[in-house]
């Protein structure tokens, strides 16, 4: 039972060893930071930090490569579409100038501003993907639940995460079993032999017993939880949330600092908006 992306057992690298609370809080603050900053000067350090973080987790590069390619391809497509819809979008973002580099027709051209805007946009997406990967690879579902609880998410919602991860493999196994018995009865699922539409129909046939057996299980699970006092109190503690170490304290200083910085950044931009919507060095 090993999933390449999600780890259920805590790892042993520096970031793995942080508490769920630190991981979730850092991630949330970094997300705010990424969303607010359409600025290469802010994104670049985070990008570098993300790469260092990812390398330090010693992930399985083989699986990650696949995700990277998909994400990069989707985002490239995204910015090409952006450009097609409005080739002049950079002008709006970079303070009103328009430096046309290549012009195809009167309406379709590439300007330095648009190129800059779209590159930063792409860079921002890649950075947020990088940070998310570090987060996902470093956290276990139980730590996630504990971490979310630490930022005042009601624990019943937190439990949904850990319970889902607990039972997804079981449901997968049920599906496998049902599929086998249906195949023996004559349901053909071989892509070479059956057209897609029929295959989808056959899969629906498998879903019926899957849903029924899953409902049976849900009943058992909720009884087991009730009998051990789940939902009794307003608060809850977490066994998986170990004591905070030195690293957690360092991270705390870091994320609190970043939170203050982000707040000042956002407030200052509301009070006195800069001349251009994003940082553009060539104006």
């Amino acid at each position: 039972m090993k999933s390449p992306l999600l780890n259920l057992i805590p790892g042993d690298t520096y970031i793995h060893k942080l508490t769920g609370k630190t991981k979730v809080r850092t991630f949330v603050i970094l997300l705010i930071y990424i969303i607010m900053s359409f600025d290469l000067r802010l994104l670049l350090p985070l990008f570098i930090a993300g790469i260092i973080g990812l390398v330090s987790l010693r992930p399985e590069w083989k699986t990650l490569r696949y995700f990277f390619i998909v994400v990069a391809a989707v985002n490239l497509l995204n910015i090409v579409l952006f450009w097609l819809v409005n080739p002049d979008i950079g002008t709006f973002w970079c303070g009103g100038s328009r430096t046309v580099l290549i012009s195809f027709t009167k309406k379709l051209f590439i300007s330095l501003e648009t190129l800059w805007y779209l590159s930063i946009r792409f860079f921002k997406m890649i950075t947020s993907f990088l940070i998310s990967m570090v987060f996902i690879l470093s956290i276990t579902p139980s730590e996630l639940a504990a971490g979310l609880y630490s930022i005042k998410v009601p624990y019943k919602i937190c439990t949904i995460f850990s319970i889902a991860f607990r039972y997804i493999p079981d449901i997968g196994r049920d599906y496998e079993n049902i599929k086998i018995s249906m195949q023996a009865r004559g349901v053909e699922l071989d892509p070479k032999k059956v057209p897609l539409i029929d295959r989808i129909k056959q899969n629906v046939l498998i879903l019926v017993p899957l849903i029924i057996t899953s409902f049976d299980r849900v009943g058992n699970i909720s009884n087991a939880m009730d009998l051990r006092g789940y939902g009794r109190g307003k608060t809850r503690t977490y066994y998986s949330e170990h004591e905070e170490g030195r690293a957690d304290k360092i991270f705390k200083v870091f994320y609190m600092g970043l939170l203050v910085f982000s707040a000042i950044w956002i407030v200052s931009r509301i009070i006195s908006p800069p001349p251009s919507k994003m940082w553009y060095p060539f104006s």
Binding site: M1, L8, S181, M182, E188, R217, L227, R228, R236, Y239
Partner: protein
């Protein structure tokens, strides 16, 4: 004066969704420190009674309570399930579903987490509870890495905090192999003694529970208590067969031998009971001739040659060879993960051997697709709910033929035959969800039989069934085998099933076939029994105590029982 911990007075319970009560007029007192077995067939109300003790009734399943039920002096009608969980620790039947956390440590801590116990207090408590059940070395293990028995231990550890007074086990043996079941009973007994807990066990497998002594047995039937007394009293009475509970094998052997009881004998422990009054009768019976119906020599239908298989890391099956003759009844036995299910999947063509060959009727079947093999070898899953996809019985049964584009006439003929074989013809237009579990099982079998396979493989056909339904299903399969000559393979760890209904057992252990012999020979071979996580039956112990050869004794018992069964059948 002992302190009562459970007190039912004129108690009744009716589920809101049902038109009549499930429990009537229950008067029962269980005292602190007692170990009590609540026995009864399915639908007798024993689980309902348990759920009234732990508070699931009426907290999770709404219903009407009449009379009074006090747990540790507290009326359950007004107490919350949480308050009750401080006194009553419940271990549910489904050891997998009740494992709600992602590691052993977390699952044991679950109840503490819910009480907001600080983590530094939690750690020693979890450590202590895990030591009591012997799981302290597994605290970081994931649920997927544990056996059923280990998951059950974790569930038990999870309710041991708070110094609960009463431990309630709902069918603790249902999902365990024989050896794990035996260990569970030993562990429960150890905790009962060492931790001084009151223990209530809900079960219908009397013989397995009696592996360790119990103080009192409550027998239930149709919502009422029909017996409340010592195990010895119950065993000497004739109540067990009357209420559809299987008697321990050694008691059956004694009754076959014509032993009669006065009601004063101590019978509950086969190892220590006084056999002297019965010895002569038992020995005389053993010497009495029985008709051994010879197994007719028939042609080989299935041959497995040197088959190996692996899922990538390490062999799941290593060089397995055997053959099965037409019309045989064979059991695949062995502990979980021994390779018996993998063997079944190989036979159904779902997976293909890495090495070796499988022949069906002397034809190499590896050339066929799963669908084609499905017409020769049918596979019936353990849980009928995992197989049923249609609303109406008739639709379910004809599905396999519709998927094969057969003509309407052909389908009608085959469906009628299959429904007839399973005694379902009269019910063919019934909705599936309206029929009982046993009937659903028959529907799944009919939906396989409609393809007219030569062999059907049944995965744990009797799991979770009480003796009555068990007998019903097994007799039905026996008839199929006898009347239609269908070859049947059971995958099971139920030794009673193997003894009573099969000719031969193939024992798997760690991917190897370690025994292929008649059931009585397998069951008298110590080495095989230990390796395959099986359990000595009480017949073995009885034979040893009588200085008889266990192999011969068990064989005689089986032959006598079959003869008896044949005589009881109306001759047709």
């Amino acid at each position: 004066m002992k302190k009562p911990i459970v007190e039912f007075i004129d108690f009744g319970f009716q589920y809101r969704s049902q038109s009549s009560p499930t429990l009537y007029n229950i008067n029962l007192t269980i005292y602190q420190g007692e170990k009590v077995l609540i026995l009864g067939p399915s639908g007798s109300g024993k689980s309902t009674l348990a759920n009234c003790i732990n508070g699931l009734n009426p907290f999770s399943y709404e219903g009407k309570i009449t009379g009074s039920c006090k747990i540790a002096g507290r009326e359950t009608k007004t107490a919350s399930i949480f308050a009750l969980s401080k006194t009553v620790g419940t271990v549910l039947q489904d050891s997998d579903a009740q494992f709600v956390a992602l590691s052993v440590g977390e699952d044991i801590a679950f109840a503490l987490e819910n009480q907001s116990v600080p983590r530094d207090e939690m750690i020693p408590k979890v450590q202590r509870a895990s030591e009591i059940v012997g799981m302290e070395d597994f605290l970081h293990h994931l649920p997927y890495e544990l056996s059923g028995g280990q998951k059950q231990k974790v569930a038990l550890a999870g309710v041991l905090h708070d110094d609960v007074d009463l431990l309630l086990f709902d069918e603790p043996l249902a999902s365990l192999d024989p050896q794990a079941g035996m260990q569970a009973i030993e562990l429960i007994h150890k905790i009962h003694l060492e931790q001084k807990k009151t223990v209530i066990i809900i079960e219908h497998r009397l013989e397995d529970v009696l592996h360790r002594p119990v103080d009192r047995i409550i027998l239930m039937n149709e919502g009422r208590i029909v017996f409340d007394g010592s195990p010895d009293k119950l065993l000497t009475s004739n109540l067990l067969p009357k209420y559809g509970i299987r008697e321990p094998l050694y008691i059956m052997a004694m009754k076959y031998a014509g032993c009669t009881f006065t009601g004063q004998e101590v019978l509950s422990d086969i190892h220590s009971m006084d056999l002297s009054p019965f010895e002569d009768k038992l020995k005389a019976h053993f010497r009495s001739p029985v008709k051994r119906s010879p197994i007719p020599v028939r042609d080989e239908i299935l041959r497995v040659e040197d088959v190996s298989f692996s899922y990538g890391d390490g062999d799941v099956l290593k060089d397995v060879s055997f053959s099965i003759n037409r019309g045989e009844k064979v059991a695949f036995v062995g502990k979980n993960g021994a390779g018996k299910s993998t063997m079944a999947k190989l036979l159904c063509g779902i997976i293909r051997p890495d090495k070796g060959e499988i022949h069906v009727e002397a034809e190499n079947y590896l050339q066929y697709s799963i669908k084609e093999i499905g017409e020769k070898i049918g596979y019936v899953m353990q849980n009928p709910n995992q197989m049923l996809v249609k609303d109406i019985i008739l639709d379910e049964v004809e599905l396999a033929l519709l998927l094969r584009d057969k003509s309407r006439e052909e389908i009608d003929v085959a469906v009628e035959r299959a429904l007839d074989m399973c005694n379902l013809y009269g019910m063919r237009n019934w909705p599936i969800h309206a029929v009982s579990y046993g009937q659903r099982k028959r529907v799944t079998i009919a939906s396989i039989l409609v393809l007219q396979p030569d062999i059907i493989i049944l995965d744990e056909p009797t799991a979770g069934q009480d003796y009555y339904h068990y007998t019903e299903i097994m007799n039905f399969l026996d008839d199929l085998n006898r009347e239609y000559g269908i070859t049947i393979v059971f995958i099971t760890h139920d030794m009673h099933l193997a003894i009573e209904y099969t000719d031969r057992a193939l024992v798997f252990s760690d991917g190897e076939l370690i025994a292929d012999d008649s059931v009585f020979k397998v069951l008298s071979n110590d080495e095989v029994i230990t390796e395959a996580n099986l359990k000595q039956t009480s017949l073995y112990t009885l034979a040893k105590r009588l200085d008889l050869e266990p192999e011969d004794y068990i064989e005689h018992f089986i032959a006598y029982e079959r003869m008896k069964k044949d005589n009881e059948k109306p001759t047709s």
